[in-house]
Symmetry: C2
């Protein structure tokens, strides 16, 4: 029998989950829940239903895992605990500072309902977190580095769009090669914000807007750009659509550490991602953890879990015997 998947929220991430479910032969998408009028939402999976969020309770016994694809700012803090009272759930909550609070809320709801809630699944938090943790456990004497990019930052693109005179914009976060090289050599550099990443902006101006003023407004924007070396390119809307419509991302998690009686040997552990589609990759990680949620629930486990709490084998379609024979 297939794992019956529901998707709550059909934006980029929800569509990515739909694609990921298609690639996993033990899963089946049964319903997508939306705040929009269902007749206005066109999904790709034949056989799956589109429903309003108001109907979701009727699906309690028809969905094994509900994947919650809302935003971390306001949707997930409310939705994940709420739906953990009815379903096994997985989310991609990514506000790092609020994870402890979100964990506590989901844990309480899921323990009360006897369900599993897996939070903060994706690549950061998610696979990057796992790699930070494994590398820290292996090399207790060392230093961690995380670099992001090259990739599109939605938050920074939005910040540019809010500037008067800007019609549209895309911002790329780019790791500084020389910093990466130094870290990889085990030099354990101390790096400032400016030394780790640069920011490159492609901006479409409103007619008659003052390019110099917009560039100044971007480069001096506190938190977002002021601490970085930022490059601004003004381009046409056509070029923005043609060249910058993708949502690539990625990055590097590196730990450099010492071993030996006198710490005489150096080691570098590096994990990196190069992603054509940030939401589709995040969705693919989520699909694997949805399998884990299903299996943990079937074992009678309950409460909130993160990637740290779940044995790797739970993610795999292969049995323990197959994994030992082919991947170990």
């Amino acid at each position: 029998m297939s794992i019956r998947i529901g998707i709550l929220g059909y934006g980029n991430l929800g569509r990515g989950v739909e694609c990921a479910v298609k690639q996993n032969p033990d899963m089946e998408l049964v319903a997508v829940f939306t705040r929009r009028p269902p007749e206005k939402v066109q999904i790709l999976t034949s056989g799956a239903k589109v429903c309003t969020i108001a109907e979701i309770e009727d699906w309690k016994d028809k969905i094994d895992v509900l994947i919650i694809c809302g935003g971390s700012a306001t949707d997930l803090p409310e939705q994940t605990p709420k739906y953990a009272a009815m379903f096994n759930v997985v989310d991609s909550f990514d506000t790092h500072a609020r994870i402890p609070e979100h964990f506590a809320n989901v844990d309480e709801a899921a323990k009360a309902s006897g369900k599993i809630g897996i939070i903060s699944v994706g690549w950061d938090p998610g696979m990057f977190s796992l790699n930070r943790m494994y590398a820290n456990a292996i090399l207790p004497c060392g230093k961690d580095y995380t670099f992001w990019g090259k990739g599109v930052s939605q938050g920074h693109s939005d910040a540019i769009r809010r500037i008067a005179g800007v019609k549209d914009a895309k911002q790329y976060t780019i790791p500084v090669d020389s910093a990466l090289d130094s870290v990889r050599k085990g030099e354990n550099p101390e790096l400032t914000t400016r030394q780790k990443h640069t920011r490159e902006c492609f901006v479409v101006l409103e007619e008659g807007a003052d390019a110099a003023a917009v560039e100044e407004a971007i480069k001096t924007m506190p938190n977002y750009f002021a601490d970085y070396d930022t490059t601004v390119h003004f381009i046409s809307q056509e070029e923005l659509i043609r060249e910058h419509s993708g949502i690539p991302h990625g990055g590097f998690v590196i730990r450099s550490g010492k071993t030996g009686w006198n710490e005489e040997h150096n080691h570098v552990i590096e994990y990196s991602l190069k992603l054509d589609s940030n939401p589709e990759f995040t969705a693919s990680v989520i699909a694997a953890y949805a399998r884990a949620a299903y299996r943990l629930a079937a074992e009678g486990q309950r409460g909130c879990k993160t990637v740290f709490d779940i044995a790797p084998a739970y993610l795999s379609l292969q049995s323990g015997e197959e994994l030992r024979a082919h991947l170990l």
Copy 2:
């Protein structure tokens, strides 16, 4: 209270474990067991005992985890099941083809004794296996690549030393850059053995040996060298000792896969290691899994486990709260 560690076998790996235990504040080395006369074995840890292997049963209640540092060819298949009858054990069994059989033997012994046995811990098998498995679960439509090196292959160095006229030798396995680049670009190349790795040999000849004959014998040796582009350098014993005494190693695990409704997006997941000391890094991974063995045993679990079966948090000195707050 500290996790009391015992080490069985005091070669490169055993010494590496001793160093790793020193770096983990919750662990304490209590005894090293050896087949040699104990008075001839000098360890580094003050307070730890050196004992003959015959005394090991007396330590049943004084050791929490026994780390078995023997060889995979003959030692571990016998030792790990044998000592799993008395202790929680961890080994680094690395004969990939015989893992299922070894797992079954250790599982039977450990289930009977109520102990935990964690096998095949290190980097390959070990961290490389984990990364292959996670990447496969995330990207079901994709292709795996593993490259080893640059590093010293003990087996290949030994094979050269067995040739008549060879006094000493060191062999490096080196991944081919162009193959790595192609894989990283997501080109999914089909690679032959020769296209993936080259082999570089540093050889010290016996006096009067025929260099050309030795070079020919190396380059045509079946399994070890015949399928590779091999370079042979003849050097002095002094140079070999001066330049090639280290045991560096490392490598790359890469999965390149597609997502999207029509598999239109590509993703590359890469994990790499650059290790100054192969045995010390392996030992550091083992130490983290010794912590897991201790905790699993304390929970009342029993039987054989691999890296696939153990939730990441068991490896870390940090609590769940700390991990969520700082590493997620």
